[in-house]
Amino acid sequence: MKKAHPLLQRQIKRYFGGQPEPLGKWEKFLGAVNQAYWDADQDRVMLERALELSSQELLQANSEMRAMIKAFPDLFLRLDRDGHVLAYKKGEMERSPLKDGEPLGKKFYTLFDDSNAVRLKAVFLKVLENQAVNYVEFALDVGGRHYYEARIIPMECQEIFVIMRDISERKIAEEQLVYYSMFDPLTNLYNRAYFENEMHRMEYFSMNPTGLIICDVDNLKVVNDTYGHDRGDDLLKEVARVLRQAMRKNDIIARIGGDEFAILLPDSDAAAVEATCQRVRDTITAYNNAASGLYLSVSMGSAHWKSKIQKLDDIFKEADDKMYKEKFINHIKLNQDLLKSVFDQIGMADLSFRGCYQRINTLNAQLQMDVKREGNEEEMKLLVNLKKSNRAGSEYCSMETEAQGVSDLDEYKSFIRSLLLLLNTALE
């Protein structure tokens, strides 16, 4: 027989006064009893060990869970199956979504305003039915607009756990992302990506004729270089305002480039497109007549999409080409207007361009002497530019009687820019 278990030894001692001799037919029986004692001991030790270890593990898990709950600023609620709050942690939100008062024992959705209570109750019931996590987002006016997310989680013990967090920052960021993916922040018009999506959407789904207008702000670069980018931005905002004023509500107006705008005109035939262009021109004229600010000039081109056989990309190109043609003509006209406006300011209103060129040469020489005297490096640079400009100006003057007037636009632009810089400097 295996070594007698201490309990069996004691029992034998108590009831038999020591080792029962001889064991005889009892030996097998006592062996089985002895084995059962040892087995029971082994099981007990193993189970006690398991109990202790698992208790330690659960304590550790409990402690981690408590630390986690404490670390999160969220609101936690533990509910029974009827939605009564059994326990809660208010959290450290800037604005709690809960109504004032003690939440314990109340149905959790009654802790919120009526409109959100209905939604929260519906989601709660859904969680009970499906036994799956569900969540709901809602907004509350609690010292300003705040957004919250409630995650409702079924627990295995038939209770429900609710985690609520303030997601206002995330919602605002999301809204901004959506805004920037659709809009041009300077003008609040749609951006190029949105415009292109809409264009393709119309191409695929629209059965009706669609118009397209491309607008380009004339001489934005001159304004930027002369008056600074803030004034240039102001000019773009004015263009956006004018376009909005001239368009219908369902027209899609977008800023698709630095100085380029495009408008999609749903359900518009050729006459409607032309009428819209004219409305834009009229609005600009009215603006220029009334405005005391920057002179506004926009080159426009339009096209008309008649059937699905045509591709909108081709229509776009057609409108774009027309716009560039108009821009070329506007360019000369605008610069004449601009020069006249500038010369008006310095008393040269009756001078021809040729006369203007001579006057500028005189100014140049005078300034050159002043600069040499003062030794101002920046002004020296300006004079170098002016000399270059005068060369371009000379060429321009020699060609001014020719048809179209200008062959080298870049040099001509450079000349005008230098003129304005000179004039600004002189006026200062």
Binding site: A32, Q35, A36, D39, Q42, D43, V45, M46, L47, R49, A50, L51, L53, S54, E57, L58, A61, Q131, A132, P154, E156
Partner: protein, 373 residues
């Protein structure tokens, strides 16, 4: 149906009060110690007694004969069906557990098939893959029950006998045909999950490496203390309760071995991402579980002529001297003339409920009853 049982013991050979079915038995269910099943003479001896019978059985971790549990024996249960036909099939050393299941199902005629009993090698078959492929090939209305062969607590080599074939790496099926055969089945556990739930973070098939990032083997060693030296058998004290998602019916998985790379080999898949909890025996519930399984069978089929009990070897490991109580609990439910046979296994196969798909279990008592009407 007529049934009789004979027992082989060392020194006495085959014992039987009467051998009335010697010339008429169509089936012999044979369960025994691995070294006895694997003997060259065993099949011949059975065929000598029951020449017309199909021999279907396996090595075990204990044989059930009536309310007794016998070791170092062979228990043969001979059946003579009045209306039922049988057909056997087996696959030896299949390429994979999947192909074993698929090919085994294809090897059985499907027409008029009522029920399939399956016996499988206990150590070299992935129960989940095997069952998945088997069920995919069998007609949907045919239920499958059975078990994995055992080899005491050796965990070294198990055998399946399918008529003339006795070998390890064998899966075998017995098809039962005919509408007058009533089959009932049920499976019950009786283990309690305890301690924290753990996420399976590293596993491959039925080999578990890590739970919550901790070594599974080290965790078992910690919980077993001094008994860790008896791994993998000692691992049966703490099976795993496994569930895939909240609300799923959990299944139990038993430790069957330890890989050289430190992975714990279980009786079924432990997929990564599932949740597991350690389980411990609850003696009363284990016995009550066996009783409930029998009652479920009784509810499904009022009468049981033959009851095939397949109980996990882990139950025997923890119940020790009390193991027969679970067999007695089963016997109490059935009539006195119900013949009980079966074995302690390395895995059980049975649907969760009547009509459901068969599932692979560990640590359970699975009962299949057969009656001809």
């Amino acid at each position: 149906m007529k049934i009789e049982q004979i027992i082989w013991k060392e020194g006495t050979g085959w014992l039987s009060a009467q051998r009335k079915l010697a010339g008429s038995a169509q089936l012999v269910l044979l369960f025994g110690a691995p070294e006895l099943i694997a003997r060259n003479t065993t099949f011949a001896e059975i065929k000598e007694i029951y020449p017309g019978a199909y021999v279907f059985g396996c090595s075990t971790s204990g044989n059930i004969c009536g309310s007794q549990i016998l070791d170092d024996t062979l228990v043969a249960t001979a059946a003579q069906f009045e209306y039922t036909r049988i057909a056997g099939a087996h696959i030896v050393r299949a390429e994979s557990s999947f192909s074993a299941g698929r090919d085994l199902a294809r090897a059985l005629p499907h027409e008029d098939l009522t029920h399939v009993l399956v016996l499988s090698d206990g150590l070299n078959v992935n129960g989940n893959q095997f069952m998945g492929a088997l069920l995919a090939e069998l007609p949907a209305q045919v239920a499958v029950t059975g078990g994995l062969a055992g080899d005491g607590n050796g965990f070294e080599k198990t055998y399946v006998i399918s008529n003339e074939v006795t070998d390890s790496h064998v899966v075998a099926a017995l098809g039962l045909y005919g509408q007058r055969l009533k089959v009932a089945y049920s499976t019950q556990g009786g283990w309690d999950a305890f301690g924290p739930e753990r996420l399976v973070t590293r596993s491959r098939g039925n080999v578990l490496y890590e739970m919550d990032g901790r070594s599974a083997l080290e965790l078992y060693k910690l919980y077993l203390g001094d008994l860790a030296k008896d791994l993998p058998a000692a691992g049966m004290s703490f099976p795993l309760n496994l569930r895939s998602r909240e609300g799923d019916i959990p299944v139990i998985r038993t430790v069957l071995g330890i890989n050289e790379d430190g992975g714990l080999v279980f009786g079924g898949d432990i997929p990564e991402g599932t949740y597991v909890r350690l389980m411990k025996a609850n003696y009363d519930r284990l016995i009550q579980g066996a009783h409930s399984a029998a009652e479920n069978c009784r509810i499904s089929a009022d009468k049981a002529e033959l009851a095939l009990l397949i109980s996990c070897t882990a139950r025997r490991y923890v119940l020790k001297q009390r193991t027969e109580e679970e067999v007695e609990a089963v016997q109490q439910v059935f009539d006195h003339d119900t013949v009980l046979t079966g074995f302690y296994s390395f895995g059980e196969i049975c649907p969760h409920g009547m009509g459901g798909p068969a599932e692979f279990h560990n640590q359970s008592m699975t009962i299949t009853t057969l009656t001809e009407e």
